[in-house]
Symmetry: C2
Subunit: 393 residues, 2 copies
């Protein structure tokens, strides 16, 4: 186990009605806030009304900025920063899923940053101050409600870049599983794929002696899969959504990744797909993850045997570890199919003409010096290209 620092400052208000507690929860941080949301579904389903009523009852003023799209864009972030500065806003409240929350994080940092907020993402600037962020989660997936990470798409440069900084963890997040009842099935599936990937990126490691986090990763993956299949049948099952919602937060607040080197190659490969083609992140991950697993599994086959046995319930002849490992990956792909997720790049509606460009962008080979991605195995652009091709059709 590696040395680590555990720091989970986000207060989670979990359960029915928790969105109505948000006014009192943000009041200690701000007199006036930015209310940030997406395409307006929060106005149809009553969440907007609940939240604004809660804010009013707590005497918290707010200005609004809607319109966040999936793969949240830099242009709206700029607009948000201007609004926050003009209106002397003290906190950004995201009412939405990961895209809205990530947009709010970028606005909150950008509001206190002297330069161009995009530099923070592109150059990895270690900023040391931000406005506080709070969230009312409407899609369990990205884990951004308690994570120190955000991902912003620069639509002009066709770049989608992530940024991690502990100061960007939200101060408070409301998670009410009832809010997830009306999500279309593909959004549920994309969210499940995303949170599972957050665990895979931590689970597959070359660090030895990581018993507790190994076991917690496996336990959480099993719970996600079992409950996701319940939701395929019944999208209004409160208990199954509670598990999925809770797992989504745990999957990415880093409690499952402590003391171990993490991978993150699959996320890097997926970001290129959605940067150019605007595909759903979870769908892209369902495509690249099994490809990554097959490509890297001989680096440490026993890690994939363990995954197959403990997570995917594979039994068989352990004298043939490759067969056990392959069966595990196959079952994962079958699980994704049951959720209606794609398994090839073609199914994502992407042709093969940019595979090489994406592989070079993922490893920064196209920007000069190549930087291999991943830690379980270091992948150069030719490796990434091979993985893309292996899952192309």
């Amino acid at each position: 186990m590696l040395n680590f620092e555990l720091n989970l400052p986000t207060k989670i208000l979990f359960g029915r009605g928790s969105q109505r507690l948000i006014g009192e929860a943000v009041k200690p941080f701000a007199k006036k806030i930015l209310l940030h949301y997406g395409g307006g579904s929060v106005k149809k389903n009553g969440i907007y009304d609940d939240v604004t009523r809660s804010l009013r009852e707590s005497g918290v003023e707010f200005v609004e900025l809607g319109g966040v799209a999936p793969n949240p864009r830099l242009s709206l972030v700029y607009e948000g920063i201007k609004l926050v500065k003009d209106e002397n806003v003290e906190l950004a409240l995201a009412v939405g899923g990961g895209s809205v929350i990530d947009s709010a994080k970028a606005i909150a940092m950008g509001a206190l940053y002297d330069g161009d907020v995009w530099d923070i993402y592109e150059k990895g600037v270690a900023v040391d101050k931000t406005l506080p962020v709070a969230t009312v989660l409407t899609i369990p997936a990205a884990g951004s409600e308690a994570s120190p990470s955000s991902v912003i798409t620069n639509e002009k440069k066709k770049l989608k870049l992530g940024y991690t900084n502990e100061i960007t963890r939200p101060v408070v997040s409301s998670v009410n599983p009832e809010h997830f009842f009306t999500l279309p099935k593909n959004q549920m599936a994309n969210g499940v794929s995303d949170m599972m990937s957050h665990i895979f990126e931590r689970y597959f490691t070359r660090t030895l002696n990581t018993d507790l986090t190994d076991a917690l990763c496996e336990a959480t993956l099993r719970v996600i899969m079992r409950n996701a299949l319940i939701l395929v049948e019944n999208s209004e099952n409160y208990e199954a959504w509670s598990e999925i919602g809770f797992c989504g937060t745990v999957a990415h607040n880093n409690s499952l990744g402590l003391g171990r080197e993490q991978d993150w190659a699959s996320h890097g490969m997926e970001h290129e797909l959605s940067a150019i083609y605007d595909v759903a992140h979870g769908a892209g991950l369902a495509v690249v993850t099994p490809g990554w697993m097959r490509y890297v599994c001989d680096t440490d086959i026993n890690s994939f045997v363990r995954f197959a046995v403990k997570v995917m319930g594979v039994d068989g002849d352990f004298r043939d570890p490759n067969a056990i490992a392959s069966e595990g990956i196959k079952r994962l792909q079958e699980f994704y199919k049951k959720l209606g997720l794609p398994s090839t790049i073609m199914e994502l509606g992407i042709d093969d003409k940019n595979l090489e460009i994406m592989a070079k962008k993922a490893t920064r080979a196209s920007f000069g010096e190549e930087t291999p991605i991943g830690n379980f195995r270091k992948l150069r652009w030719l490796d990434v290209f091979a993985i893309y091709k292996s899952v192309f059709q």
Copy 2:
């Protein structure tokens, strides 16, 4: 799943050398601190030197109060409160195990409380302010390094009472598994018993649909047992101590208890043993826990079947759930024995003349109105008495 609030504000600095980071970590909170410790072992093993050097290098002044005994006493808490007030101390730094940390929590609350600090424990006063507490953990067991709880013994009244308040969670804790190498084997065993009990008190619940926390509890229990057996053989195994140290924190920071009704009857029953006889808490728990399990298991036999199968690895004929459940409890007791833990009250060196008195104190029947303890099954004094008798010899 029940609604819950997740709040884990304690920053954990985990791993080799982390005690040397404590000066910088407490500096933002205080110019002058109380350095609180136990019987002086920290001076022999070098931890005291590391910590005081770190404080000096960070320019943090300190006054000292040593002498905390297991089952920490109210008299020393009073002394600490006086010292803190006289010296204008702004933070209490506990260097030790659960007893030292609990004593520091009581001092930190008492310093800002107008009345008698014992009232906070006896009357459950909801105090709303405390000095911050930090810790350098030397015994993994109580989980107090990240928990909102503390237990103080009023030696005059022979009362040992716990108190839980979110504001008492430490702000920062250092956990260096190397510090555990020199612990006597019985302290390792007592610690393991204590942290396992912290999970049992949460695991056995009547709340339905608690998939994730069930699975996390089971995963953590298995990791504790596997690594404790390594330490029986080799008390200087860094990796095994890392797992045990990490598990001890997770077991009691309540991340395993979210969204579920908890029990806490076994802790209540054990507190009476150590209040009167000053036995080690973990040893007492190893005695009363299997007794509690046997007494309550028919309340929901399936919970104990699950425990037997998933935690204790029992296989067998599921048409006889009682046999499966019994085998699970038997294996737990065998595990305790491998650690050298006692299995009867007599082995704790306690005679049978106070069993009834203790049962009545545990349920407050001796103070007037009886208050049943536990939630998995509500236990009245006659139930507690029956459990004590069942594990007496």
